[in-house]
């Protein structure tokens, strides 16, 4: 919010703008910018200054001014969206005295306000206070130059001497006001009520709005005159022919104004202030100041009597502050006299003091103060948070609990990094195109773009995107991501649910199925998981239609009986750029199987012997079946069986493939004799050849 340095100087002695900005930033609000404005003063001061020495001693300093763009904190709107409010803050941290000029109203005894206008407020919850004054025989024209300048410096457009006066008072005190042409108000009666569904209004800037019962309006007996707290209507507009005006200074409920402002899409300097809340005591100050300014500049007679609808008077709060709590919370002991001085400078009253308790009365303009902690913040910031020294806490030496989820995540990532993969972080979102292929995605109500319309139900679509983006620069890509996916869950009886779980997905470009399998094996082994096996993925015809995996080139990764993920080639129908192999593992399932337990296997002292064995089998025979037969036939003395070659084609019978194994024989308690090994080897060959189609190569 923008403030004029010269205007602030009217109320209090101030340091130079740069120094003031520094102090404000350290004790109250951040000053975003300081800008110089205006022309240097002229020599002929008496003519140029245009100062009108009114009874309220409003003087325009003339010449150079500075604009301070102050980031008033949202909870300080009520007292600091005004020059007086900021001046009061400055008084607190510069320890100077605030000088608010007093005003004096001249009411005309012969004219009584209640003869001119009546006010009815339908619901006191919507409008906590409504005050009105009438000024008769005004002369509407342009404002004095100095008022126009002040408005312009603060970003407002001068309109006429009546409207400008109301805006001036809003910038000065924080209380928004509105002025109506009394002669345009039917039956001279103002009603504060909710709009009826279907009612309309044309505002001062000629825009039309449709109203409904959520919106508070100021109306006469016929139709709405203004949207309460937001914007005035054209019907009772002040124009150059206006003779009698009604000044409105009210306190509308912040929630009602906020709702109305959002509904109509209409935000104004007035609505902004009402939304943040205003002190009801301010309505009276505001209306009297405005009346005085109008009387001095537009002339006119102020009728006597203030129309004041104020059913529930707001009283100052009292808060009990314990000095010991102040010390404990800040971690610094502040002298009692300093504490009291700070509170007094801020406008708080000390009602009673009986150590360790201090009872403080809070002025009504501080809507943000209601707890002892609020007072402690006030004391701390004016005293200066810098003055609190850093000090380590004294606490019990309890070591932190190990977070096992993070523990296994870290190990997993390290293993993949060691295997040559690069970790990526992708967006949690996918677009419409991807959602058609990767089904079950949760939709976002207010997405930033079409490409971010859904939450990702899989990590795969974005990994594929990574390949497209990087393919220009890299031929071989090995990436992985460990992140959350989101799936639409069946909604049960109004219980809205989204399933959220971590997946671990990795991608290798090229003909890399067995390479990926090796990685998965290595990973699961290092995580202490055994009993891993790979089952051919056999989707149902329905699943096939939507499957992302290439037919007959995909496996389900299983541990014991449980499927924990998939490993396979992505169908070229889904991804054309290049062949890619992906492993996609449910990390939540994986974590439950991880174990740190590793048993040391004693190394046999006795030498191992290797015999090779090659067997010709039909093409559709699975390697695992041959391996199993060898292991079962060989028994305990077969320590390991290693497939080292698969060959089909030239030199091999059609329809068959050649599998070559190293069989490693070893005993734990003796050196195996050649004869023993031969015997077992022959047994294996015999078992393999039990199948007439299998032939062991000799």
């Amino acid at each position: 919010m923008v403030f004029s340095y010269n205007w602030l100087k009217e109320y209090i002695k101030l340091p130079k703008p740069e120094k003031l900005a520094e102090l404000l930033t350290m004790h109250a609000f951040e000053v975003e910018e300081i800008k110089k404005v205006g022309k240097p003063p002229h020599h002929n001061k008496s003519k140029r200054r245009g100062a009108k020495k009114t009874k309220s001693a409003l003087v325009w300093c003339g010449g150079k001014d500075y604009i301070l763009d102050i980031d008033v904190l949202p909870n300080r709107g009520p007292d600091c969206f005004s020059h007086i409010g900021i001046a009061r803050e400055c008084a607190a941290f510069t320890n100077s005295r605030l000088q608010i000029p007093k005003f004096k109203l001249k009411e005309d005894k012969n004219l009584k306000t209640r003869d001119f206008v009546a006010v009815e407020v339908k619901n006191k919850n919507d409008c906590l206070r409504y005050t009105a004054r009438v000024i008769a025989n005004v002369k509407v024209g342009p404002s004095l130059k100095w008022i126009q300048e002040r408005l312009k410096v603060c970003g407002l457009r001068p309109i006429n001497n009546i409207v400008d006066a109301t805006n001036y008072v809003m910038l000065e005190t924080g209380q928004p006001l509105h002025a109506f042409d009394l002669d345009k108000i039917s039956n001279k009666k103002i009603i504060v009520r909710r709009a009826k569904n279907g009612e309309k209004i044309i505002t001062l800037d000629n825009k039309r709005y449709n109203l409904d019962k959520d919106i508070l309006v100021i109306a006469d007996v016929k139709s709405p005159l203004a949207v309460a707290g937001i914007k005035g209507g054209k019907k009772a507009e002040i124009d150059k022919k206006t003779k009698t005006i009604v000044l409105e200074s009210a306190n509308f409920d912040s929630r009602v104004v906020r709702k109305g402002s959002k509904k109509l899409g209409l935000k104004t300097d007035a609505s902004w202030r009402f939304e943040h809340g205003i002190d009801p005591s301010l309505t009276e100050t505001g209306i009297n100041k405005a009346a005085e300014i109008i009387q001095n500049i537009a002339k006119g007679k102020i009728t006597s009597g203030l129309v004041d609808f104020y059913p529930k008077k707001v009283l100052p709060k009292k808060i009990k502050l314990d000095y010991r709590y102040l010390t404990k919370l800040l971690g610094l002991k502040i002298e009692r006299k300093d504490v009291k001085q700070i509170l007094k400078r801020l406008g708080f009253k000390i009602i009673k003091e009986e150590y360790p308790i201090l009872i403080v009365e809070i002025p009504t303009f501080r809507l943000d103060i209601s707890l002892p902690e609020d007072l402690i913040e006030e004391i701390g910031r004016i005293y200066g948070f810098q003055r609190i020294p850093a000090a380590f806490p004294i606490v019990s030496l309890i070591p932190p609990k190990i977070n096992f989820e993070i523990f296994w995540e870290d190990i997993t990532k390290n293993i993949l990094k060691e295997s040559g993969f690069t970790e990526v972080y992708n967006y949690s979102f996918i677009g419409e195109k991807e959602a058609e292929v990767f089904k079950g995605a949760v939709e976002i109500e207010n997405p930033m773009s079409v490409e971010q319309k859904y939450l990702r139900p899989s990590l795969i679509p974005n990994l594929l995107k990574n390949v497209i983006d990087n393919f220009r620069y890299f031929n071989e890509i090995k990436i992985f991501e460990l992140g959350k996916i989101f799936i639409k869950k069946q909604e049960t009886r109004n219980k809205k649910q989204t399933e959220e779980k971590r997946m671990l997905s990795g991608l290798i470009t090229g003909d890399a199925f067995y390479q990926a399998k090796g990685v998965v094996d290595s990973l699961l082994n290092k995580l202490g998981i055994s009993n891993i096996w790979y089952d051919e993925y056999k989707p149902t015809p329905e699943q096939s239609k939507i499957s992302i995996w290439q037919k007959e080139r995909c496996a389900e990764i299983k541990v014991d009986g449980q499927e924990i993920g998939f490993l396979g080639e992505i169908s070229p129908g889904i991804f054309k750029k290049t062949k890619v192999v992906i492993f996609d593992v449910d990390f939540e399932k994986l974590i439950k199987l991880c174990s740190e337990e590793h048993e040391y296997q004693p190394i046999s002292q006795y030498p191992a012997a290797i015999r090779d064995l090659a067997v010709l089998v039909p093409l559709d025979v699975k390697v695992v079946d041959v391996l199993n037969k060898i292991n079962v036939a060989g028994g305990a003395l077969v320590r390991d069986v290693d497939l080292f070659d698969i060959y089909e084609g030239e030199g091999i019978v059609q329809g068959k493939k050649n599998l070559a194994f190293h069989i490693i024989y070893q005993a734990e308690d003796r050196t195996l004799k050649s004869k023993e090994i031969d015997k077992i080897h022959q047994k294996i060959i015999k078992i393999l050849e039990e199948n007439p189609e299998w032939e062991v190569r000799k």
């Binding site: 350290m26 314990d322 402690i376 806490p393 932190p400 977070n403 390290n414 909604e491």
Partner: protein, 266 residues
């Protein structure tokens, strides 16, 4: 693709200036490295690391944190809503509420995690990014304690002696509130173009936990008369921001680009 250089040594003499063979190594994401470092430093000070869900409901994300509906304070966070009425968390604070509900004080925790903001993206703003929040609740924890802990963390993280500066701020879930600045690493506090000549860099928000928030977590705030009562501090800092400062990265969007030319530098 260029073939890797594989030269067999010939003869007795070896030309030691021939480049060594390139290894294929993998890389962890810079945010993973930063997250681990943060966890390491805080765990060394006795903080447990807690994580929680990314999809949340309004109560945990706003109401429990003293941010009521129809209040201008809600405007401080631009939120993604899901069609089913849930939302994507705008900070990791809801996890702190969940933790407080299930654990009694005293405790100290940090909560790292991905958060979401409905904002236009640019070099310093993204729709999803990472935050780490901290919460310490005990009998006597004060602003002075927060200062010491955060200075220790920052000094260890950046590997240089760092000082902190607290300024007034506003958050609905803490009172008193601060903006926390740290010494500018470029000029060591003397003033330069990076810190707009102030010597300080704006870093994070913090404050003493608001009694309403403690109550929402089922913890008794300070009741001095009965001498029961707990108090504590909370802070929130952007992990992407820390990573950008540490590695001198100038665009947050690089973290989510999947660009291997960027990722392979770590």
């Amino acid at each position: 693709m260029r073939k890797p250089l594989k030269i067999k040594t010939k003869g007795d003499k070896i030309d030691v200036t021939v480049p060594g063979e390139k290894l294929t190594v993998g890389h962890l994401h810079p945010l993973t490295l930063v997250k681990r470092k943060i966890e390491e430093i805080f765990q060394a000070m006795g903080f447990s690391v807690i994580e929680g869900p990314e999809v949340e409901n309004e109560w945990y994300n706003f109401d429990a944190l003293n941010i009521p509906k129809d209040h201008p304070a809600r405007d401080m966070w631009d939120t993604f809503y899901l069609k089913n009425g849930l939302l994507l968390r705008t900070h990791t604070s809801p996890v702190q509420i969940r933790y407080m509900e299930k654990n009694n004080p005293p405790f100290r925790i940090i909560v790292p995690g991905r958060i979401f903001r409905h904002e236009a993206t640019d070099a310093s703003h993204e729709t999803n990014f990472y935050q780490v929040e901290g919460l310490m609740v005990d009998k006597d924890v004060s602003v002075a304690n927060f200062k010491a802990i955060i200075e220790e963390f920052l000094s260890r993280f950046f590997g240089k002696q760092v000082k902190s500066r607290l300024r007034p701020s506003f958050f609905p879930f803490t009172e008193p509130n601060f903006e926390v600045d740290m010494t500018c690493l470029v000029c060591k506090g003397k003033g330069c173009s990076t810190c707009s000549k102030t010597g300080w860099i704006e870093l994070m928000g913090a404050g003493m936990v608001h009694p309403n928030v403690l109550k929402a977590g089922g913890i008794n705030p300070h009741l001095f008369e009965k001498d029961g009562g707990w108090q504590g501090f909370a802070f929130g800092i952007g992990m992407d921001r820390l990573a950008m400062m540490k590695y001198k990265i100038n665009d947050i969007r690089l973290f989510y680009s999947g660009d291997l030319r960027f990722l392979e530098q770590f």
